[in-house]
């Protein structure tokens, strides 16, 4: 039976089943439950198979979306996974954390008048099915190339780069500063949004490919960049150290007890397991407490929803602009609201208030209104004179963004930085200003997304392959960069 385009367009988008808001806000179980095979099939059948699938242009790594959805509709999940694998690694992760509304789904033709195809949910469905039933293709034997590559940092950029290089037959060793691999996927994004077992299975997959992992290796301290290329004998290095330096507000009271950076708060909970009853890592007791989170991105949403799960009585998100400007994924904002998080828009922190013993007691906020558009085209918030108010708070979490961590660049003079502290690279090859050294992910873009980091890791892997084969370090590209004064 052939269904007409018009008929198809009448079908409603299948919504992702989620745990009850009250129930889930009291535990760390994953919020989204995942589509059933029937739901996935029906949702996939809604796809119009456009002649020019705009969704693909919206995808940062150009997954053949119409193709994989077609396989899902036919029940060929293995085939769907094969299509995704051509362009993307880590689909179980990206299906969960990509800002689909700004990428593939935002570009889907159905987005305008109807609801776009749930591309992210389908991607997740495919990846989860493959993982659950162990349908991954067997590891192919490749002839060892005799070359070796060091990967610095085990976030999505490093993991993706490692995977491609291992598949090309190189010996690959990942060096990670922390005691567990995964980067932000492990220490930043909470369990209820991205189960750690999924990240772990990606890492296990890499180990099966022969990738080695060395933890507690702070490159620049434990081993220098120079040593990786000399004494340690690597033929090339990929730097994917992320943007891990927390920004603070630089206002009075920021060092009061009870003020956390999002990184510290989330690391204590996610990496160190401070939510377990028998934890050894402390976190301030949040039972019955009031929490204020500053910021409007995914980190802010994670920083707001985690305290609820640790017993906080009230959590508010204070954001300088309006909901429309919030960089967070729409789904996270929606979930946060369902869970009872209160949003204060158009407010900016003036001061953090404390008691005589140095503990936080509240925040002083300035009300803002939207003024003229700034360089980014967004209307700039400006203070409304005299409109200042206080909120009680026991804990404040500052989630206004991270900068590139200066530790590694500071210890390697050959790596040039931009004035934002990111590493200077040739974008199409990931080549840095140091011969043999490539970089990608948040360390070159500033805080961005998992999919962009993964994409950059793969671009660099291709470029590393070429470099290892030809031995030619494309100096021209570097000189161009230099003369352009970037």
């Amino acid at each position: 039976m052939k269904v007409s385009r018009r008929e198809l367009m009448k079908l409603d988008r299948i919504e992702m089943p989620a745990r009850d808001p009250l129930e889930r806000a009291a535990c760390f179980d994953e919020v989204n439950i995942g589509l059933t095979p029937e739901e996935a099939t029906v949702e996939a059948m809604r796809c119009l198979h456009c002649k020019t699938p705009t969704c693909i242009d919206g995808c940062p790594v150009n997954i053949q979306i119409d193709q994989f959805i077609d396989r899902v509709a036919m029940g060929d999940i293995r085939g769907a996974a094969d299509v995704i694998r051509l362009d993307s690694l880590l689909p179980a992760i990206c299906g969960r954390v990509c800002p689909q509304e700004a990428q593939c789904e935002g570009a889907c033709v159905l987005d305008k008048k109807h609801k776009p195809i749930a591309i992210g949910h389908l991607e997740r469905y495919v990846a989860d099915t493959i993982r659950t039933y162990g349908l991954e293709p067997p590891v192919e034997h490749v002839e060892p190339s005799g070359k070796s590559v060091a990967i610095v940092g085990s976030g999505p950029a490093g993991l993706a780069c490692a995977a491609d290089l291992a598949k090309s037959g190189h010996r690959v060793r990942v060096f990670e500063a922390l005691h567990k691999p995964g980067g932000v996927l492990i220490y930043g994004i909470p369990e209820f949004r991205l189960p750690k077992s999924i990240v772990q299975s990606e890492i296990d997959g890499l180990k099966e490919l022969g990738v080695e992992f060395e933890m507690n290796a702070i490159i620049g301290r434990t081993i220098t960049m120079e040593e990786l290329l000399t004494e340690e004998g690597f033929d090339a290095v990929f730097v994917g150290v992320g943007a891990g330096l927390p920004r603070f507000l630089n206002i009075e009271g920021e060092n009061l007890i009870g003020v956390y950076s999002a990184n510290e708060f989330l690391t204590r909970v996610n990496l160190m397991g401070a939510f377990h009853e028998d934890t050894e890592t402390p976190i301030l007791d949040l039972t019955g407490k009031r929490v204020v989170v500053f910021g409007g991105g995914n980190t802010a949403m994670d920083s707001a929803r985690t305290p609820l799960r640790l017993g906080a009585k009230e959590v508010r998100v204070a954001y300088r602009r309006t909901e429309a400007e919030m960089p967070a994924r729409v789904e996270e904002v929606h979930h946060a609201k369902e869970e009872g998080i209160v949003f204060d828009f158009l407010v900016s922190p003036l001061e953090l208030l404390g008691d005589d013993d140095g503990w936080l007691t509240g925040v002083r906020l300035q009300r803002m209104e939207l003024g003229e558009p700034d360089d980014s085209g967004r209307r700039r918030p400006v203070p409304i004179e005299g409109d200042v108010f206080d909120l009680d708070a026991d804990v404040v979490i500052v989630a206004i963004g991270n900068s590139p961590n200066p530790l590694l660049p500071a210890t390697e003079p050959h790596l040039k930085q931009t004035r934002w502290g990111t590493l200077e690279v040739d974008e199409s090859t990931g080549r840095t200003t140091m011969p043999g050294v490539f970089a990608g992910g948040d360390i070159t873009t500033g805080g961005a997304t998992v999919i962009l980091a993964m994409g950059a890791g793969r671009v660099a892997a291709a470029s590393i392959n070429e470099y290892l084969e030809t031995g030619v370090w494309d100096r021209e590209a570097n000189e161009e960069l230099e003369t352009a004064g970037v």
Partner: protein
Amino acid sequence: MYPILEAESIAPDVRRIVVEAPKIAKKHRAGQFVIVRVTPEGERIPLTIAESDPAAGSITLFVQAIGRTTRLMSELEAGDCLVDVAGPLGRASEINRYDGVAVVVGGGVGTAIAYPIACALAAKGNRVIAIIGGRTKEYVLLENELRAHDIEVIPCTDDGSYGRMGFVTEALADVVADEEVGVVFTIGPVPMMSAVADVTRPSEIETVASLNPIMVDGTGMCGGCRVEVGGETKFACVDGPEFDAHEVNFRLLQRRNTSYRAFETGQLSSLESLDHEHHEQLLAPVRGACARRAMS
């Protein structure tokens, strides 16, 4: 896993632990520290590297059993392992040649931390005086080791059971009065470092304190270790741990260090309520895990 090669008690509740960590041993310079995890689910704690032996590939740590993690660590013996040792972290001490005498003031286990700095100062050709304090005689650490490096030692005890009776700051005030002092390094409890800074402030003697805030990663990614120096916020793990003692906001440091007091007290009492067998259960994953290496 990082094998423990030697472990011994050098004072009540203070253990000297030598760990195999060749890469760290090779890089270590005085003033730097490592982040250690004792058990597979353990917290990350910073410990100063007291000594390193690049040839043997080992580093020496001193640990005072004050919390749950340090208590468990103190129960480890040669042949056991530490789960994680990451470093060397922080900036190295700036060791210069001074016209006046270089004074190192250490309190309790702080003496162990001051030890490599004192040695480095002596190696640079400075005359070095170490003022080391402890509650009683048993808590005065490393006196002989310091003397072996031609360092003059002024031991002080609170109760007068050994050396000078009274605080290290009194001894320091006398040295400052009698000698031309080029630099003072101070490491120990926050009130002691604050008092040392007060002694040297009037005469504007260069004074360096090694700060011990709460840390998580030790690499500059959490900001939990923030301290205030000269009115500016710094991350002690990457900007420090040593700072100009006259500019440090010690009151803030002291306060921030109490953030988790309730949690820590609870943990310690829960640990104390456990019997020997339970302790062994906690330590089982690291017990004897590296026995063969320690013997060879």
